[in-house]
Each structure stands twice: as C-alpha cells, then as structure tokens.
C-alpha cells in the first residue's frame, strides 16, 4: 500500500488483468439490508461481461479483496449490489461518496460463453445473486424467457427499479414459485443466489442439460492459481473463479 511504485508494473495483453484500478464510490442507495453502489473507475477496465466478477477492497483492507459480480458495466462505470453483511460489505455500505476502492479483474467465464446460446432461460435469483442476472438480462434480452427473482423483505425493491421481484414477507411468493409459474419444457435455467435456492434448482433440474447454477465460496486469488476455490466435478477438480462461476447442474451432483 505504501509502495507507490507498485502501480508501475507492466501487464501483457494475453492473460487475465492483474492491474489494480482505482475506483471511487459515486452513488449509493441503501435499503432492506442491501446497498446498490455506482463506482467510477479512474482508468479503463475491460468491461466485465455478465457473470464475471471483480476483486475489490479498500486501500486500507481487508488484506484479501473479495469478489463482486457486476449489476451493470459501461465505460468507466460499474454498479454493484451488495448485501450488508461481513467485514468489507458493511464497510462498503457505510462508505461516503468519494471513498476510494481498489478494483482488479474482471475474472470468471461470462455466463454467455458458458451456456447453450440456442436456448431461452429463466433467470432465478435471490439476494445479491440477482446482480449478475440483471446484468445478463440487460445484455442478452433475447436469451431470457422469464425472470424469477426473490427477496425475503421488500426493502431492496427501490434499489432495483428495473426488476420485478417477489417478496416473501409480503406475498409469501418466492423466486422458486416464479420459476414454477414460468416453467415450460425446453427452457434453460440460470440460478444465482443463496445455496439453499441453488440446491433446490439443482435437484429439480439435474436432468436438464441447460440448467446452470452460479456458485459461491470464499475465494483466494480470483484468477485460478491458488486452488482456494476447487470443487469436485464428475470430470475432475474445477475452480469456481476460473472455470466458473457458472456450472451445469450435472457438474455439481453434491449440491443438494
């Protein structure tokens, strides 16, 4: 941190990006235990594709940056949806506008490069997991058959004017209910959210070759070298950060 020269490293063009960009919190909306942040990036960043994530921390810490999916990304500006729970996320939620972030990435395989693009999908999500799904829906409207997004409480609704969300505490309706309602044979599924939701989707859709879940774990490096995020699959060990985060339900038989 106190080493000014560390920004001067040269990066070649044919691998993941390791440069740490400086970001600045430009706008913050809070509600229901979530915060939606707009972050201005001082320098160009290869725009994250839906499903990719950035490794983020403050200059003061935490020592290890954490992964966040983008909710939107365009020239020099990204949006994040953050659950206010944990060391960095609570600090992000409390930070004043103008606070500086360190951002590296993007990493992970874009959802669009992982899925069968000959299908249409129901996007199933809960909590902060709706971020990459909304990003995907915005970028690939033609691939989306329906959205099935849920939150426990209604507090986050005003953070997401672009989304129609099910609020369990208000109507007892869940993301899963919406998935059932929208379901038609031949559709695919992309799910991102809390593990119990992913497990339900995986159990129900194991035979569907176009059913995918976006996995989370505590990452280390984020770019594939530390093996902090290895998971077993029928074809061997895979890294969530590098081979994922999206996996076909058939690849994660242990998820139930």
């Amino acid at each position: 941190m106190d080493d000014k020269s560390r920004r001067h490293v040269q990066a070649a063009q044919d691998g993941p990006s390791f440069l740490v960009r400086s970001g600045s919190i430009a706008e913050a909306h809070r509600g229901g235990g979530y915060v939606r942040l707009r972050v201005d990036l001082a320098t160009d960043l290869a725009a994250p594709q839906p499903g990719q994530f950035l490794m983020i921390r403050f200059p003061w810490g935490p020592a290890l940056p954490r992964p966040f999916s983008t909710l939107s990304a365009q020239d020099g500006e990204i949006e994040l949806l953050i659950k206010e729970d944990g060391l960095l996320r609570e600090a992000l939620a409390a930070a004043p506008c103008g606070a500086t972030l360190e951002v590296r990435g993007p990493y992970g395989v874009p959802y669009a490069d992982r899925i069968d693009r000959g299908r249409q999908y129901v996007l199933v999500g809960g909590g902060s997991g709706v971020a990459p799904l909304l990003h995907f829906a915005h970028a690939f409207p033609n691939l989306v058959a329906a959205m099935a997004l849920g939150f426990r409480t209604g507090g986050a609704r005003r953070l997401l004017p672009e989304a129609d969300i099910a609020v369990e505490d208000e109507t007892a309706e869940t993301a899963e209910d919406r998935l059932h309602a929208a379901w038609q044979d031949g559709l695919g599924v992309i799910a991102c959210g809390p593990e119990p939701l992913l497990a339900k989707v995986a159990r129900a859709q194991r035979e569907n070759a176009a059913a995918y879940v976006s996995l989370e774990t505590r990452l280390g490096c984020g770019f594939g070298s530390c093996l902090g995020c290895s998971i077993p699959t029928p074809v061997g060990l895979r890294r969530i950060c590098y081979d994922g985060p999206l996996f076909a339900c058939s690849e994660v038989p242990w998820l139930e």
Partner: protein
Amino acid sequence: MARIDVRHRQGTFRTPIVLASGPAGFGVELSGSLDFRAIGALTTKTITREAREGNTQPRVVDAPSGILNSIGLENPGLEAFLRDVLPRIRSFDAVRVVSLAGRTPEEAASVAAELDGEAGVDWLELNLSCPNVRGETVADRPEQVSAYVEAVRNASRCPLLAKLPASDNLPALVGAALNAGADGLTLINAVRGLRIDVEVGRPFLARGTGGLCGPAILPIALARVFEVRRAHPNALIVGTGGVTCVRDAIEMLCAGADLVGVGFGVMADPASVFALAAGLESWLDARGIRDVKELVGAAHRGGFRVL
C-alpha cells in the same frame, strides 16, 4: 542503479523476490500478463508422487490481516506434472523451484529422482511443513528433517531448499537440514490457526485448523528468520511470511533473508508482487546503497549504511 540480483554458488536469481509455493500455482495463470523477469524465482505448488484431491470447501477463511488456508496439497501428481506442467514452466524466464512432498523420505526421494536432470527444474524445495495434511510431511523433530533431506539429497543433484515451519524448535530443525545436505532454507510455512463459525459453533474448515498466512504473520516470520540467521551466518535463506510491500521485503532482508518469498501477496495483488523488485531498486538508489546484499542481515550488524 543498485544491483538487486542475488548471486549464489548454485546460480543467480535476477531479483530477490520469490513466488512462494502455493498461491501462484504453477505460474501459468500469472505468466499470461506478468513478466517473470521481475522475480528471482517461481516456486511451484507442492507436487506429490500421486495426484491429490486436496481438502473440501471451504479452503479459505478470513482472518485479521490474513487468511487461514486449507488447500491440502491438491496437485496433479508427478506424472501429470512432468507431462502437462513442466513443458510450460520451461519457458518462464526465472529460476524454477519445484516443491515436493512425500509421505515418507523414500517417497519424497523417488519424486526428486524423477525430477533430477529435467530441464526446467532448477532447484527443489522439500516441503517439510504443510500444516494442512495429516500425518505426513510435517517435520517437527530434527531426526525427521534429517531423514527426509538426506533421502532427497541422495536422489538428486539439484540444489535443494528445505521448507520448515515456525516451530519453537526451528534452530535445531535448520541445523538438521543443513547437516543433511540442504543448500538453503525456506522459512516459514503458514502458522497453525483456527476460526469458528459462530452461527453454528463449529470450525469453518473441515480439518479444524488451517494455515495462517498474510501480513498477520510478518512479525513472526521476521523473528524466525532473524534467529536462524544469527545461528547460521552463511545459510541461504528464503524469508517467507506476510510480505506484501517493499518495506516488508526490506525488513525481511535486514532480518537475514537472502531472498524474499511472497505467498499471500500473490493472491491479494499479484501485480504489486511483480513490482517489488523495481520498488526495491528505487529504494536502494534513493539511499545510495549499491547492492541489495548490503541489506541482508543488516539487523545483525547494527543496521545498514546510507551514503
């Protein structure tokens, strides 16, 4: 311009910065975007005779100024390493240190024997201190260290580093390793630690404890390097533990390290690790210090001299 290369009778390291075993994997992901000429050596993830699956998730748990890791020596095994990995490593423009471990001295020696003479295997590092596998290569007694080092020494002509834990017993372990023929030491491995998930009251990690690494252990690593340097003025030491910036690297050199290993830092901010050597060079230049060698062990001589 200050010299920052490290000359050793078994070869020269272009800079004192070494990628520690583990976080950098086999260097493949890093090599696409970063220039290996900025580092002195790449240490591979530890390899074993047979492939290992490693531990179950989670493998990384947050800790103040660091993490606990519990990777558990996941690696493709010797055969796949030779076939798939080594050819890629050969092209890296830095000293390549292959880390290895074995359940017994004989097993470790057999891995070393097969690596002997392979192009791209410049040094071996014998991992005697992984905190995340049970009942194998954690050597906490000098006799064990001797037996492992001797076996590997006899199996290979490669220069050899012994990687040791932050044990109370470290000076004795170091003595054993050097007597058995190690050319140098890598100090320290991650420190045994625990975190508990307070929502359920159980350890986060399936194995209970994991290895604490990152800035939190910098003072511990510095103390151990300092003590070993005092006892062994001429040993080659790769001082490892908690280094993430130029200042930390300078502290490690002054404590007595010839080379500075970086593990956690590679995970947190790889580009900054590849900028350490340049930062070190400017730092030396600003003080008129001509050779990084003048820093090594300076804390044992009342400090360094600034021109």
